[in-house]
Amino acid sequence: MNELMGVISTLLRAFVTTLELTFLSAILSLVVGILAAAMRVSPVPPLRWAVSVYVRLVRNTPLTIVFFITVFGLPQVGVNFSFFSFALLALTLYTATFVAETVRAGIQAIPIGQIEAARSIGLTFTQVLAYVVLPQAVRSVVPPLASTFIALFKNSSIASAFGVAEAISVMTNMVNVHSTIVLSIMGATAAIYVALALLFGRAFTWLERKALIAR
């Protein structure tokens, strides 16, 4: 039991890295995803095409391959970051495509009349997006975004295969060292994941309620 407690405290420290990875890439992919969604509905065709290619390509590629190309491909063309930054980049590139598609669906759900009204008072395309479309779109997509970000939380474990000592990487090592309590170590890791994911779920429910009130 003492052995397991020691393992759990080591694991909890590794979860700090998992959470850093998750939160930073969640924020970045929200920014990138919203920009991409905005570009996807923009009146400039090349922007629409570029984003559409990016979204279709990256969204349908297994995350491990996105990681592979990011971590080992970019250095071949002279771009070299730390493994943590590469993991952040790969997770952001991947998750942003899901955010973009979700936000785009949110944009399309806004009554066209409101957009016409916004244009008729002289707002530019960017202003229409910023003040009328996106605030409403983002609110309506809080629940689907919650699933996207919980998936991101779990997806961050792929970074363990690419040089980042997050929870799963440390779990694998713990398993190798403490071979008598393998199942308990895995069970404990799963339990921490589930507990944190449930916590995120609650946070999003709270956000959603706030978004509803503000409508």
Binding site: P43, P111, G113, Q114, E116, A117, A118, R119, S120, I121, G122, L123, T124, Q127, Y131, V132, P135, Q136, R139, A214, R215
Partner: protein, 245 residues
């Protein structure tokens, strides 16, 4: 013709094979109230929407204050802000309070300060009779109140003209009058207005001129008295007989 606020010359528009607007020519002068009447599908709403370029046109020229309507960009946005629009479905921004609905344009387009815009907005809301609703959200208001808020939003842009696209068609009958009263008041104050409507009573009382459209064409153009008492075309007669029953 420099004192035309709105002018259309030989404007044509197709929706695929449908010739929606056929050689439309007309002018609205400053201070004039023009009612556009006609059966549904006659192109009157489409015409109204082309003036703000919510619909594109295929040929012809539309001028606002003598300036040709540009295709896209900031210049278009600027001209749009000078011609406000009131829609059938009100189209208030549902995530903003009534007050914020009214101040959004003045702050972001006219670059007014928040305090100034707010003060003016409350004035406009008082003018349309819903000053006490300023802090509510659109969904909390009745249809008539929402449409009056939309009129306040239009007024706040200090427009050269206001386009009304069937402003009472989506309202319950008991709310039609409160909106028409506000519009009548505006007309009396000298606002330039182009009103697409089926409210012939309003046309008769308030309009300086009635334009009758059918099948994408302007069929008849006359002062209200002349139009209602002595329509020149069969199509107008037919329309009036149906609508005035």
């Amino acid at each position: 013709m420099p004192d035309s606020v709105i002018s259309m010359d030989k404007v044509n528009k197709w929706f695929g094979a449908l010739h929606a607007l056929r050689d439309i020519n007309f002018r609205v002068s400053a201070g004039e109230v023009v009612v556009v009447a006609g059966p549904s599908g006659s192109g009157k709403s489409t015409m109204c929407r082309t003036i703000n370029r919510l619909e594109t046109i295929d040929s012809g020229t539309i001028r606002v204050n003598g300036e040709t309507l540009p295709a896209e960009g900031r210049e278009l946005a600027k001209l749009r802000s000078e011609v406000a629009m009131v829609f059938q479905q009100f189209n208030l921004f549902s995530h903003l309070s009534i007050l914020d609905n009214v101040t959004l344009g003045p702050i972001k387009v006219l670059r007014q300060s928040g305090a100034e815009a707010c003060k003016e907005a409350l004035g406009f809301l008082d003018r349309v009779g819903i000053g006490d609703q300023a802090h509510k959200f659109p969904a909390q208001l009745s249809g008539g109140q929402q449409q009056r808020a939309a009129i306040a939003r239009a007024l706040a842009m200090r427009p050269k003209a206001i386009l009304f696209d069937e402003p009472t068609s989506a309202l319950d009958p008991e709310m039609v009058n409160e909106v028409l009263e506000v519009m009548t008041q505006l007309a009396k104050e000298g606002m330039t207005m182009l009103v697409v409507t089926h409210e012939m009573g309003f046309a008769r009382r308030v309009a300086h001129r009635v334009i009758f459209m059918d099948a994408g064409q302007i069929v008849e153009e006359a002062p209200p008295e002349a139009f209602f008492t002595n329509p020149k075309t069969d199509r107008a007669r037919d329309f009036l007989s149906k609508i005035l029953m």
